[in-house]
C-alpha cells in the first residue's frame, strides 16, 4: 500500500519525528511504499545538516537521510515553513528537498493513507 507521512514538529523537542521514523521503517519492512514524507511547521528543522547531537544520543537527521538513501524515499521540506525557520539549500541534509505545500496535497491524493505526526 502507498503511505504518506507528515511531520509537524522538530527533532528532540517532541517525540513526533522519532515515532514517524519508526513507523516508516516498519512500513517499509512490511513491503509498503512510503510515497513521501512531508516536513511541515517546525518539522522542517528535522532537515538541518548542521545538527550534531551528543554522541550517546540518536542522530535524528542522519537517520532520516540514511532511510531515504536506502529506500529512495522522497523527503520534502515545506519551503515557506523552512524560510521562516532558517532551513535553506545551504544547510539542508542529504536526501531532503525543499518544495511547496502542493507536495503535501499531492501526497494526500496519491497515497492510500496519510498519517500525521505532531505535538
Amino acid at each position: 500500500m502507498k503511505i504518506a507521512v507528515t511531520i509537524n514538529e522538530g527533532p528532540y523537542q517532541h517525540q513526533a519525528s522519532d515515532t514517524a521514523y519508526l513507523f516508516c521503517k516498519a512500513a517499509l519492512e512490511k513491503g509498503h511504499e512510503i510515497r513521501r514524507v512531508f516536513f511541515y511547521n517546525d518539522g522542517v528543522n528535522n532537515a538541518s545538516s548542521l545538527t550534531e547531537p551528543p554522541q550517546d544520543d540518536r542522530n535524528i537527521v542522519t537517520r532520516w537521510s540514511k532511510l531515504a538513501a536506502d529506500h529512495k524515499l522522497d523527503l520534502v521540506v515545506c519551503v515557506a515553513a523552512a524560510l521562516r525557520r532558517g532551513i535553506r539549500d545551504e544547510n539542508l541534509a542529504p536526501g531532503f528537498r525543499i518544495s511547496g505545500l502542493g507536495q503535501l496535497v499531492e501526497a494526500g491524493i496519491e497515497a492510500d493513507r496519510l498519517v500525521t505526526f505532531g505535538d
Binding site: T6, N8, Y40, N41, A80, A81, G100, L101, G102, L104, V105, E106, G108, I109, E110, L114, T116, G118
Partner: protein, 123 residues
Amino acid sequence: MSEGTIKKFMFVNRKAPYGTIYALESLEVVLITAAFDQDVSLVFMDDGVFQLKKGQQTKGIENKNFSPTYRALDGYDIEKLYVEEEALAARGLTEDDLLVDVTVMPRAELGKLMDEMDVVLSF
C-alpha cells in the same frame, strides 16, 4: 500522476489562533488543496472555534491578523465550514460572533462526517 482524482479532504482545527501557528498553517494547506480541485471540508472543534471570532486586533501582539482570510475562502469555492455546537456553547460564543457563515453541528454528527473522508489533516 493524480489528474482527475478528487478526494475528500477534511481539515480539523482544534487550536486557538496566535498562541501557536497551526491555525495559520491550516489555512495555507486548505487554499492549496482547493487549488488542486479537491473536495475540501473545514471543521472547527474545541478551541478551534476561536479562530472564527469576529473583531481580532493583532496590532498589540505585533503579529499578522489572518482572520480576514476566512472571509476569502468563499472566493475559492471553499464552502463547507462546520463548527462544533458544543464547543461554541462551552466558550460563550454564538453564530453571531463568527466572521463567516458556517454550519453548526453537534459533535456526534461531525464524527460521522469524519468517517466519510479520504484524508483528515489535524491542526
